[in-house]
């Protein structure tokens, strides 16, 4: 593994709404090594998308980054001016959004949209840009790239649109790529094609990838390390195989037990209750109202993220005392 390319320290992004302050990201810390595939898992409202948007500094209003550091290649992105950020977005750090129909502009051709990205960052002629676009579209597996690039987004199917979005994200060969649920809207067979494509391109360009998803299957297949988020905080960070084999946080365990598997039938364990409201999140550990192991301590004190074995971090008061199911299986 190479050096750390991105490190996020104590990031807080709050939304100042009329109903109150929504603590969407509330003290998230993790880092990413060069060339790594990191998974960011969580349910809706866990802050996974807002973390990505914070790194790119495109948090929508009324959201604001109020605290923390985002160190990218040694410099804090939060200290950069807007002009400097323009040079970073797209060229250094790029993002693929969940819904390609919404992230592509319907009134411009694919050629124009990709050309804009390339020519914003590189001083090349239109002709050179066009050649690049054709190459890019062929790379992401768009058939008849030369003619189809003159078409508009509505003329493409969902899978093809997402291919175009991937091509746009990779247009300037960024060093860091965020993929925010890039396959949620797609059918499974198309999803498999996309995951394969992302994996291939990642290898080819040596890009670091942050895969944002709620699908444990994608995490297992595509990532090497995972950050589990719940209600704006980090629960657990571990290597992917460690996380699946011996999760130490009750939420991670519950999440794994609640997901049906295609290769076997099992009794689904239910996580009781609902996702908390982030205007008034639960005190102490935010998972405590839904946790089977919660005690008074969990209600009162916020657990800190501690390293329990090399590279395995957990934020839980009771990780030592409780025997999680995953572990029992592991021992037996």
């Amino acid at each position: 593994m190479e050096d750390t390319i991105l490190s996020i320290e104590g990031l807080k992004t709050y939304f100042f709404t009329e109903a109150g302050v929504v603590k969407a990201v509330d003290g998230i810390t993790f880092n990413l090594k060069g060339g790594e595939s990191l998974g960011l898992v969580g349910e809706s409202g866990s802050g996974k998308t807002m973390t990505a948007l914070s790194v790119l500094r495109i948090v929508p209003k009324p959201g604001k980054i109020i605290e923390g550091k985002i160190i990218y290649n040694g410099t804090n992105l939060l200290d950069k001016t807007e002009k400097e950020m323009l040079q970073i977005r797209g060229r250094e750090i790029a993002i693929i959004f969940q819904d390609p129909s919404a992230s592509l502009n319907p009134v411009y051709t694919i050629e124009t949209q990709l050309g804009d990205v390339i020519r914003a960052h590189e001083n090349i002629t239109k002709k050179e840009a066009t050649d690049r676009i054709i190459k890019l579209l062929e790379l992401v597996g768009l058939p008849e790239a030369e003619t189809r690039m003159r078409e508009y987004p509505h003329q493409f199917s969902g899978g093809m649109k997402q291919r175009v979005a991937i091509a746009r994200a990779l247009a300037c060969e960024p060093k860091l790529l965020f993929a925010d649920e890039p396959t949620t809207n797609l059918d499974v067979t198309i999803q498999a094609q996309m995951l394969e494509l992302l994996n291939e391109l990642k290898k080819k360009f040596g890009t670091s990838l942050v895969m944002i998803t709620h699908d444990m299957g994608i995490i297992a297949k595509l990532t090497t390390r995972v950050v589990v988020l719940y209600a704006g905080r980090v629960c657990e960070i571990a290597k992917t195989d460690v996380l699946f084999e011996r999760p130490k946080h009750p939420y991670t365990e519950a999440l794994l037990a609640a997901v049906p598997r295609l290769d076997m039938k099992k009794t689904l364990q239910v996580i009781p209750g609902n996702i908390p409201n982030l205007i008034e999140p639960p005190s102490g550990c935010r998972f405590h109202p839904r946790c089977n192991y919660a005690t008074k301590e969990c209600e009162e004190e916020i657990p800190i993220l501690e390293e329990i074995e090399p590279g395995h971090f957990v934020a839980c008061h009771h990780w030592r005392d409780i025997k999680l199911k995953g572990e029992k299986e592991h021992l037996g």
Binding site: E43, S44, S157, G159, M160, D187, V188, T189, I190, Q191, A192, Q193, L195, E196, H214, D215, M216, G217, I218, I219, A220, K221, L222, T240, D241, F244, A254, L255, L256, A258, V259, P260, R261, L262, D263, K265, K266, L268, Q269, V270, I271, P272, N274, I275
Partner: protein, 331 residues
């Protein structure tokens, strides 16, 4: 006609006309072959899963069974009676009686509940329509239904916006149960819910089946949840059923190349399982001009000349395992 069957669908066809935009008159340009000659039956107290990618005709099948749209051709039997004839001819009371027996739970619990009605109004509305519960008992009945789906009595006075997605889906299920149906169609009931909430709803559906003996048609593109909840499963591709078998048999020993490709495409949440292999390239062709012969042949790795020429029939290859393929995966 087997006694055990609650629903029988025979040679069901639904074409939707497609029009081109003319200056004065619309011109018919062709048909979308949404459902094209499918036959299957659903046994009493079983969960029948219907899987396939978007546009394969799953939801159209559901709407046809409920007679929300009329079929182009074909027959549907409920409890041995031809319900298409009944819906077309019989009196209003007869139709209402039939409607009471079948209910639908939609995908999006945000869109399928009226935001201006309280939960009490929503769940008691079927009583107004079907008049099967005397007014004095409404309150009691609503409370009972809420309890049945895991909600509390005080929830009755609230409005849908006060609930989370999972709770809303529970309200939808309670509303469906209000008419004491025998048969419920659940169309992607968990796809818009969060992962930790999905298990709650899937387990609730399973429990209700055990306690009140419901029959389900479970429609989803999420194969993992289909395996979890279904007894038998049919796989659809471009308006056709390509394979039908018991859930475990189908997922462990698929016979149709498309089923195999679908299964392979689902990532298993376990890093130790084998690598995904992609067998399926390209996309689902247009249902307006579906490919000749076997509709899957342009994307199939096993396809030969014969596949493009003549359509394979759905045949019982193994016991209770039907497949429509000339070169099934038997080795």
């Amino acid at each position: 006609m087997a006694e055990a069957d609650l629903i029988q669908v025979k040679n069901l066809v639904k074409y939707f006309p497609v029009f081109t935009r003319g200056i004065l008159l619309k011109k018919q340009a062709g048909f979308v072959h949404a459902v094209d000659d499918i036959t299957f039956s659903i046994r009493r107290k079983e969960t029948f899963g219907l899987v396939g990618e978007s546009g394969c005709g799953k939801t159209t099948t559901a709407r046809l069974i409920l007679n929300l749209i009329g079929p182009t051709k074909g027959e549907i039997f409920f409890n041995g009676k031809n319900i298409i004839n009944m819906f077309n001819s019989s009196k209003k009371e007869e139709k209402l009686k039939l409607r009471r027996k079948m209910q639908l739970v939609f995908q999006n619990p945000y869109g399928s509940l009226d935001p201006r009605m309280t939960v009490y109004d929503i769940i008691s509305e079927p009583f107004i329509i079907h008049k099967h519960v005397p007014k004095k008992e409404w309150k009691e009945r609503v409370y009972m239904l809420l309890k049945q789906v895991g909600l509390e009595e005080y929830h009755a006075e609230r409005y849908p916006h006060e609930f989370s997605g999972g709770q809303r889906q529970r309200i939808c299920i309670a509303r469906a149960l209000a008419v004491e149906p025998e048969f419920i169609i659940a169309d992607e009931p968990v796809s818009s819910l969060d992962v930790s909430i999905r298990a709650q709803i899937l387990n609730l559906l399973g429990d209700l089946q055990k306690t009140i003996g419901l029959t389900y048609l479970y429609i989803s593109h999420d194969l993992s949840s289909v395996r979890q909840i279904s007894h038998r499963v049919a796989v659809m591709y471009l308006g056709k059923i390509v394979e039908l078998a018991n859930a475990d048999e189908l997922f462990d020993y698929p016979l149709h190349p498309y089923t195999e490709a679908l299964i392979e495409a689902v990532p298993i949440p376990d890093p130790k399982t084998k690598e995904m292999k992609i067998i399926l390239h390209g996309e689902v062709p247009s249902p307006i001009n579906p490919p000749s012969g076997c509709r899957f042949h342009p994307r199939c790795s096993r396809a030969q000349e014969k596949c493009a020429e003549k359509e394979p029939m759905l045949e019982e290859l193994k016991k209770d395992h039907l497949v429509a393929c000339y070169f099934p995966l038997i080795d």
